[in-house]
Every structure is written in C-alpha cells, then in structure tokens.
C-alpha cells in the first residue's frame, strides 16, 4: 500500500474519524486526498485503542468503497420476493414514504408505525425524534438483549447503572459472562496487566473456557442460563457470613434484614444442582468478591440474555455491588449520571409524544420496566434528583418480538409500517422464522442499510446510509454517561448515500415536521449544539474534534454523600425496590429458573437433553455483520458450534461434521468444533450466520438466512421472557444434536415454517396456535399498588397509568376521591363548574373567569373579607388575589409591619405618602423619588444625604 500512495504528502488531510463496527468506537486517522479516503489507521492518541485496530476496524477502507454497498435510494418494482428494484431520487423516495406514513397514521393511528434499528449504528435520538413527532411509541432495538434490562434494574435499585467500572485500583474484578478477549478487545490486556501489577483478583463466570477464563484466579464454569441461581447464592453467602460493608448498609441502604430473611432459601447447596457448581466454589467466589474491596463487576450481555431468570440475577448482582460498598468508590463501580452537555434524552423531544399513545406501546402491558410505565417512573425520579433523565431510545421501547407477532396476528393491533435501520432482524432477534414471516407480511417497510440483507429484500424502499468514515461519530454510551468522545466526518458520503441523521431529518420534514422539530440543517450543527454547554472555546463541532476530541468531566466519587441521597425513589439504595413493588413485582430478588431446564421441565429435557447456549460474540464478526466481506470471511468460512469431545463421541460426531441442532422451535445446522472448551452437557452455537453469496431468490430463506441461524432455535415466547424487562432467552435452552446425513442435510421448506408460540412447533406444527394476549407470562404480576381503582371513570375523565390517577381530559386536573379536582399546584377546584376553592376567612368558590365569588350552595357571594386589622386609608382589599394593594404605588401592603413592600425588589415604602425607605450611612430616610426630596423618619424635610 505504501508503494502506491504517499499518505504523508502535503495535499493529504488527516481527519480524526472513528470506527463504528462495535461499541468501542476506536479512534481512526483517516487520510483524505481530494475528498477521497486513501488510507485509514488506528489513532495512536485515542484513549481506547492507542493505535491498534481489530479485524473489523481494519476494514474501514473496504467498507467505504465496497461494491456491494447500496449507493442509491431504491424502490421495489415487483412483488415482494421478486427482487426487482428501480432507482429513484431521494425526493421521490422521501415524498412517497411520507405520504404513505401519513396515510397509515390517518387510517390506523400513529401506533401502526413501528421502527427497528441496529446496534448503536444510527443517530438514535434523531430516529426517536421522527417517531415522537409522528406520534408512535413503537420504536425498538435489540436493546432488551443488551444492557437495557440491567440498566433499568440497577437504576431502580441504586439510582443509575454503575457501569463505569474503575479498574485502576480495583482489588477484584468479576467478569460475568464476559469475554473481553472476543468482544471488547482493546480493553482486554488491561485486566491481565493489573492482575500482575496489583494482585487484582479476577473471577470469571463463563460456561465456556475462553481466552479470558484462561487468565482467571477463579473460574466458575456454570450451567448456561443458571446465572440467576449463582448470583442469588452468592448474595446469600455475603449476607449470612456478614461479609458486607456495615457502614454503607447502615447509612445508605434500606431493608437489609428483610433481604437477609428473603434470601434465606437460596443457599449454595440449593444452587449447586442448578448451576452444576460445587457449593464451595460458590462460597469461594462470594468471599473473594466481598473481601477484596474495592471490587467491581463488569456488565456482560449474558445478564440480559437469560430470558425469564434475568432480572432476579441482575437484581442480586446490583445488591451485591451496593452492600459490599463498591458503589461509586475508587476502584469500584462508578455511576456517571447525566452529562453536562445536551443529552440524547433532550434531543429526542419526548415531550411531543402524546400520553394516550404511550399506553399503546406494544409490550408495555407485559414488560413494564423497560417500557413507558417503568421508564416514566424512573425518568421522573432521575429528573427530580439528578436534573436530567436517561434516554427514552433504548430504555423505553416496544417489545421487539411482540411487534413482530403483532404484524402477524394483529394482536393487540395491526402494525402496518416498519422501519429497519442498520439491522437485520432475521439474524438478530429470537425466533427468526417468526420474524421472517413478519417481514414478509408487513404492509409497508422501509430499510436504511449498507448492504442488501435478507431483510432489505422484503422492503418497499431501501435507502443508502453513509458509513463511519462518511459521518461524524459520537460516543456517549447510549447517551447515559457524562463523558463524550467525538470524531469527525472524514469524507462526504459517496454516491447518493446520506448519514442517517439527514435521512431522518428529511423524512421528518417531508412528513410535515417543521423547523420546530428540526432546527438545525446538518448533523455537525446539531452536535455543536450538543457540546455548547461544555463551554469549550470552539466555534464548531469539527474544531472541537480537532482540538479536544473528547471531554471527560472531573471524576467525583461518592456523589451520594455530597448530594445526601442516591437518585432513587427513597434516596437510598433500595434493597427492597419500591418501584418494582409499585408494578406488582417482588421488590427483592426472587428466583425463576432458566426458560427450559432439566429441573423444572423434565419432560422437555427428556427429548432435548443438551443445554444450548448462544448469543456470545466471536471474532471476526459483529452480530450479523461482515459475512459479506471476503477478507474476513476467508478466515471463518463456516459456522461452528462447540461440543465437548466426550459428548461428541457419544453422539458419533467428529470434528468438522455438519450437524443439526434442534429445539422445540425448529432446527438449524452448523459444523462441529470438538473441543473440551465446554461442559459435556452443553453446547455453544455461533450466532449471526447468513450467506450473502447464496441465492437471493430462494423463497424460504434468501441468502441462506435461516439455515445456520442460531436464532431459529431460540425462544421469544412470553413465558420464556423476563416478566419485568421482556428480555428473551439465548442461553440455557434445551436442545438435541445429531449429524446431518446424506438424505437429511438440506434445510427444507418445512424447516422454514414458523409457529406462535414458537415452542409449539415440535408438537403442534406450523401456524398460529394462540394469540399473543392469551399467552402466559413467566410470572404474573401481583396486584400493583397503584392499580386502577374499581370505581368507574366518569365521562370526560381518563385513567393515567403513568401517574396512576384519574384526570379530567379537558383540563388535565386530577379527580380526587373526595370528588374535587386538583391541579398540578395542588389547588382544588369544584367538579363541573371549575370554580376554585378558596379557603380564606371562610370557604368560598371563585370563578376565575370573571372574579366572582359563590358559596357552596352556588349563591353569589361577596367573597372572603380581609382577615387582619383594619386597613389604613389608601389601601384596598382585593378578594380575588386575596391581597391588600396600596393604591398609590400598586405594591402590596403588609399588614404585619405596616409597610408597603415591592416584592420584586424588596423595597419598602411608607403607607401615607408612598415614599421610599432608604438607609444611607446608617441613617434612615424616606425618599420622595418623584419630587427628589428627602425626609427623616418623622416626615421632616432634610438635605439629600451625601455618600
């Protein structure tokens, strides 16, 4: 490459760009000549990667000018699946899309529009803004499999998710289901260095033996999906052996004794058969974590991919962090809190989304914490206590699988339009066959993409999106951290690609959203608006990137001590969460088994004896991306699942054999990687596989998108989803494995059929067997504390689930059980007449429209009389405002002091003349301002005092 291009030449500009093939957003130096990208390399000055780049990052160049990139807006010309396309202009595409959206909105309401998006690949706040202005609550990501359940649970318990772990002085790090060796690589070597340098203990919880487990001080190879049992048992040990931080618990936590009683049954002996671990291993882990303080636990995807057992485990871990005194201390789990710059939440314009559609958000009736009910409750607490809230995008979204089910079944209502931006739901959501059916069926679909994915094939419009080098990239951890790392656009988008901000903005404008919604013309301008509050001496976003690139606020530990409270409902770390209880969910961690397991479902385990775990990342791919890059694909041409030699021998499987992996949902095939890296009772499958080189006209699975797709066999049935957060199960399912044979090696038409619920496929075959609303949940909610009252809601009134009150629709005032209306300030009004209740020297009703008073019988009344001593001359009583007014000055007469007071300035005047009281050099004067005359306090004229 050096031979061909001199990238140190004078006319080559170096731009500080960023990679965005994963969440790390490593810094990239882009060398640009004449507006063309000629070379890209890792930025040595970037804090994340220090010059390094991984497999994916090194594909920056090939990504920009990849011939298979989509470069022009395209419109479907034939029927769905015919794969005929015509190129259209941006104008035409956006106008037509906007017209269709407005039509659907008109006919079926805005909630019939849904939108899926890929992982941190778009300017999500821009998307949310469009959706908010359209008026739909049904935006979603794969958020429920990735951090959001954890964030919301931890925020409910301790006020903010303590995700900014501080490794530097840590004495113990728990990597729970996390393999930085494969996922967040630039950070991985840090752990191993610290182990050597600080004697830091490293605990790895992972059913697989991985690159990371290789370095652990203690490795817990648990049964996949039994993480909840392990964390409950560890919490039990910490509580019963009194290993926690007494001071912290005493001062900052609630209900420790209740918690200890509640956790009593979850002993290590109880957990041992569930987790396949030895009770002593669990004790050792608990002791190692609790006694090596400060310690921290790194979040991992695993926590959110366990299905119905997820929230109990996360709750227990959140409590462990807290009671061991690790919250917000050096070397512990840092809580950043909201940022000083304009946060994503503020950019989203959630204020314009009407309340009545919020309750129509799909999934909000089932999974309350990660949808509007939970979000609004927690965001309200956060706004009250921190001043700002976390994003609604990610944290408050429709339940994706339920949206797909709604498209198929029309339950709870028909979703008619779907946006997919930078996502390939067939690969990334659970129960792919069902998702694929939904994509085929949805009436109107718009896809914003880089490449032609199986999803894009079903679209009505495919819009070309600009990649990382072609747009600025901002890294703010989903908009919930207080730091910012910014990168600039290296080149303008090639061909007719547009950055997704521009697409969303222009679509919004085409839909009739005006300047109010989109005050800025470009992403850079909007981002400059974001960083402006930081007060940096820069005049543009690009200048910020060039000069500073990042902003990290000064690190402050133990913010709760300075503030006097945690940002929770009660101001303390809630070991027994009041918010959960409000939703009718146990306030303390309460065990639910893995979605399918040999203890709870022995009959399932008989047919499907092997434990399946999936969803873990593997190099060099990221989710379903890069399968169409031959450079990368050459290294990993085929999908492999890992199986222990012992099990492989029993099943007569040899290394490299193609095998079927089957669950109750169906089957898919991968090749066997026979390796003792996993327990003989379990297997691990790779995710994300599709084959871009295959036939795109295959009606059952274009691009081979189902054949080796592990999500064909995962479950999104409601009873397998976490009842609190809605995350579904990738791990700990039950499966069987058998070799592909000569007559049974093709993925057939029958294999591609779906069923709802998915788990009925094996027994009842394809088809919809029960509607989504009939499906059972893993745990039914107890009666919520703030349940809707049985009393009928009168005409003109409505129940607001969010604030849990009946309110009058015309005025928004709350209906009190007493029959009175109460406004936001707490003032009472009479129902019907809306006369204000005035209690002053008797009870009166005031008609604020004309200032007339009535008594309770409805007869006109003189109104309240002044309650104080007799008023001096020149002072009038105003019964409407209930004030005494000095006629001459118009200011308030204060009956207690006898002075007239200008409340705005705090100036005093005398009642008789309206002269101003002044104190000059310690002497009191009255000053006639108009006549410019001075008097002493006995009304004798005096000379003007000299200063």
């Amino acid at each position: 490459m050096t031979d061909k291009i001199d990238f140190h030449a004078d006319d080559v500009v170096v731009r500080k760009s960023a990679c965005y093939f994963c969440h790390q957003n490593c810094g990239v130096l882009a060398y640009v000549k004449d507006g063309k990208l000629i070379y890209a390399e890792g930025d040595p000055d970037h804090p994340t990667n220090a010059g390094g780049l991984c497999t994916r990052g090194n594909q920056a160049m090939t990504f920009v000018d990849n011939p298979s990139r989509i470069n022009y807006p395209m419109k479907r010309a034939g029927k769905k699946g015919e794969n005929k396309w015509e190129r259209v202009s941006w104008d035409q595409a956006l106008t037509e899309i906007a017209a269709k959206l407005n039509q659907i909105k008109e006919e079926s309401g805005p909630e019939a529009v849904a939108a899926a998006a890929g992982t941190l690949r778009t300017d999500d706040w821009a998307r949310r803004r469009v959706l908010n202005f359209v008026g739909t609550p049904n935006g979603f990501h794969n958020a429920l499999l990735c951090w959001i359940p954890t964030f919301m649970i931890e925020t409910a318990i301790s006020g903010w998710s303590p995700f900014e772990t501080d490794l530097g002085t840590s004495k113990c790090v728990v990597l729970w289901g996390m393999n930085p060796g494969a996922s967040s690589m630039p950070g991985a070597h840090g752990y191993f260095d610290l182990q050597k340098a600080n004697g830091m203990k490293l605990i790895v919880v992972d059913p697989r033996y991985t690159e990371t487990a290789a370095h652990a001080d203690l490795w817990l190879p648990l049964r996949p999906g039994s993480d909840a049992a392990l964390s409950l048992a560890m919490l039990n040990v910490i509580l019963n052996e009194f290993l926690y931080d007494f001071d912290f618990v005493e001062n900052w936590c609630t209900d420790i004794d209740e918690l200890r009683d509640h956790m009593e049954p979850y002993t290590p002996e109880w957990a041992a058969p569930l987790t396949w671990l030895d009770p002593e291993q669990i004790r050792e882990a608990a002791r190692m974590y609790a006694t090596n303080r400060p310690g921290n636990m790194q979040w991992a995807d695993t926590w959110d991919q366990l299905g119905r057992s997820a929230s109990a485990g996360t709750q227990a871990r959140a409590i462990m962090r807290a009671i061991c005194g690790n919250l917000d201390v050096p070397g512990g789990d840092g809580m950043p809190g909201p940022a000083a710059y304009v946060t994503d939440e503020e950019l989203e314009r959630n204020d314009v989304l009407p309340d009545e559609v919020k309750s129509k958000q799909i999934g909000s009736d089932k999974y309350k914490l990660t949808t509007f009910p939970g979000y609004e409750r927690l965001a309200e607490i956060s706004r009250r206590k921190w001043g700002k809230a976390f994003t609604a995008e990610w944290m408050c979204e429709a339940h994706g699988p339920s949206v797909f089910k709604a498209i198929i079944t029309g339950d709870p209502y028909q979703v008619r339009a779907l946006f997919c931006s930078g996502t390939n739901p067939i690969s990334s959501y659970g129960d792919s066959k069902m998702v694929w059916e939904a994509l085929k069926k949805v009436e109107f679909m718009v896809v914003l993409e880089y490449f032609m994915t199986p999803t894009a094939l079903m679209a009505d419009y495919v819009l070309p999106v600009a990649g990382a080098m072609e747009r600025p990239v901002v890294h703010t951890n989903y908009g919930v951290t207080d730091s910012i790392v910014a990168s600039e656009r290296a080149i303008d988008p090639l061909y007719e690609r547009k950055s997704d901000y521009d697409i969303w903005r222009e679509l919004g404008l085409a839909c009739g959203q005006g300047k109010e919604a989109w005050p800025y013309d470009s992403l850079e301008e909007e981002l400059f608006h974001v960083i402006e509050p930081l007060g940096m001496p820069v005049s543009s976003y690009d200048e910020f990137v060039e000069k500073y690139r990042m902003y990290y606020p000064p690190v402050r530990y133990k913010k709760h001590e300075a503030r006097g409270q945690f940002c929770t409902n009660t101001g303390k770390v809630e070991l027994n969460s009041t918010v959960f209880q409000e939703f009718g969910y146990p306030g303390m961690p309460t065990y639910l088994g893995a979605p399918e397991n040999e203890v709870d479902d022995p009959e399932v385990a008989e047919e499907y004896p092997i434990v399946l775990t999936t969803g873990g990342g593997f190099m060099p791919f990221h989710h379903s991306e890069h399968f169409n890059n031959p450079i990368i694909r050459y290294i990993k041409p085929d999908p492999f699942f890992t199986i222990n030699p012992e099990l492989a021998e029993k099943l007569d499987i040899k290394d490299g054999d193609w095998c079927w992996i089957e669950t109750r949902r169906g089957r898919m095939k991968q090749r066997a990687n026979v390796e003792p890296a996993i327990d003989p009772r379990a297997i691990y499958t790779q995710r994300g596989w599709w084959f871009p080189e295959r036939d795109w006209n295959d009606p059952d699975q274009p691009f081979g998108c189902l054949e080796s797709n592990t999500n064909v066999i995962t479950s999104v049935d409601d009873e397998h989803c976490d009842p609190l957060t809605g995350c579904w199960a990738n791990r700990g399912l039950m499966c069987k494995v058998y070799k592909c044979t000569a007559i049974d090696h093709e993925f057939t038409h029958e294999d591609a059929q779906f069923s709802i619920p998915g788990s009925d496929f094996a027994t009842k075959g394809a088809g919809v067997h029960s509607m989504p609303h009939e499906q059972k949940m893993a745990r039914e909610f107890a009666e919520p504390i703030f349940a809707q009252p049985d009393t009928e809601v009168p005409e003109g009134f409505a129940w607001d689930y969010k604030t849990r009150r009946i309110y009058e629709e015309s005025t928004g005032m709350t209906l009190d059980p007493s029959g009175w209306l109460i406004d936001e300030a707490g003032t009472y009004y009479q129902q019907g007449t809306h006369f204000k209740y005035v209690n002053y020297n008797g009870d009166f009703l005031l008609d604020e429209a004309n200032g007339k008073y009535y008594d309770f019988s409805g007869n006109p009344s003189e109104g309240p009389q002044y309650a104080g001593a007799e008023l001096p001359a020149g002072v009038t009583w105003n019964p409407v405002t209930l004030t005494t007014v000095h006629d001459k000055t118009g200011f308030r007469y204060d009956g207690d002091s006898g002075w007239v007071i200008d409340d705005a300035t705090g100036t005093y005047y005398d009642v008789a003349n309206g002269w101003k009281y002044e104190n000059v050099n310690g002497v009191d004067y009255l000053h006639d301002v108009q006549g410019d005359a001075w008097y002493d306090m006995q009304y004798n004229a005096v000379a003007a005092p000299q200063n």
Partner: protein, 186 residues
C-alpha cells in the same frame, strides 16, 4: 548493525486475528493468502481442567533461512538487517522455496504467479515505523525491534524471559521469539 526480530508474547495474545486481517488489508493480499495466521489447538485437556494457547505465526526471517538458498532465480533474498523478501519481477514461480520453508511462511496464488511472503513491512520499518501487524495489535502481543540494539524492547524481552523458537532443531535460526505461558490456567 541492525537485526530485526519479533517477540510474540503469547500470554497476551487472545487469538482475535486482527493482525491476520490487518496484514491482508495493508498488503492488499489476494483472497487466499495469509502471511500471519494466529493458530491454536483451542482448549486442550479434559473439562474443566483445560488450557488454551494462541500462537501468532509470521515469517521467522531466519538467520539461516531454508528458502533463500533454495531459490533458483535469486528472487528470494535476505538483506543485511535480516529481512527476507522476494522480488516479484524476478520470481519465476517454481514454488520450491514454499516447499523449503518449514514454517509455511510463503504462499502463492496462481493468478499472480510469483511467490509472496511477509517482508516485516520493510517499507514501513525502514521509515522508522512498526510493521502493520504490530501496529494494529491492540493487545501488544507482537513486539518488534532491533535485536542488535541492547536497549530495544525485543532485546530486553529476549533477555528477560525464557523464550522459544519454532522448529529450532532445523537449524534455521528463526528470529521470532515466543514467550509462552506454560502454566496454563491460574
């Protein structure tokens, strides 16, 4: 004198193959050619007592290379700083060197017709930069430098740790040194 060498700290290597891909991209290699794979047997042992090691491979730039004397055309050559490389215009594509190399460091694709091998990124190195695989390694598992300079990092590492070289018994004196974590887990 300069004697370029590389140290592979396999304790740091996580097998991500970033170097493999980076090299393919930087050198614009044909699709089926790999200069520096990262290889591993995967987990070894019996569950759960297993261990795993990764070995980043590359041309060993041997002090006594087997490939250079095997070349009938003189296209394969070794410079004074130890870098072994092939001049593509002089190579007739007989592939005897690829068969001579005990490390699989040479590769060939029919459409090009000449032998390819790692050059330690000699263009970069001679301008004072790191080879591209070293630059891209975010784990700092690949360390490159001048073995004749006692202050270089490679000299220090080779002096400090017990290192091993691959197929040392063949007498090729490979110049890539491996620091192994022999303890496995723990």
């Amino acid at each position: 004198m300069t004697r370029y060498a590389m140290v592979m700290d396999t304790r740091r290597c996580i097998g991500c193959q970033s170097c493999t891909i980076a090299c393919r991209t930087w050198n614009e290699l044909p699709i089926d050619i790999i200069y520096n794979p990262v290889v591993s047997e995967g987990a070894e042992g019996t569950w759960p007592n297993v261990h795993m090691n990764f070995t980043p491979m590359i041309c060993m730039h041997c002090a006594k290379p087997a490939c250079v004397p095997a070349c009938p055309t003189g296209a394969s050559r070794q410079d004074d700083d130890g870098i072994v490389w092939v001049e593509p215009t002089q190579c007739m594509g007989c592939k005897v060197c690829a068969n001579a190399c005990p490390y699989g460091a040479r590769d060939y694709t029919k459409s090009e017709g000449f032998m390819r091998k790692c050059t330690f990124c000699k263009d970069r190195v001679r301008e004072g930069e790191q080879p591209y695989c070293v630059k891209t390694c975010h784990q700092k598992a690949r360390i490159f430098g001048d073995l004749d300079d006692p202050n270089s990092e490679v000299s220090k590492l080779v002096g400090k740790f017990k290192t091993e070289r691959i197929h040392e018994d063949l007498g090729t004196e490979p110049q890539v040194y491996y620091i192994r974590d022999l303890g496995g887990r723990g």
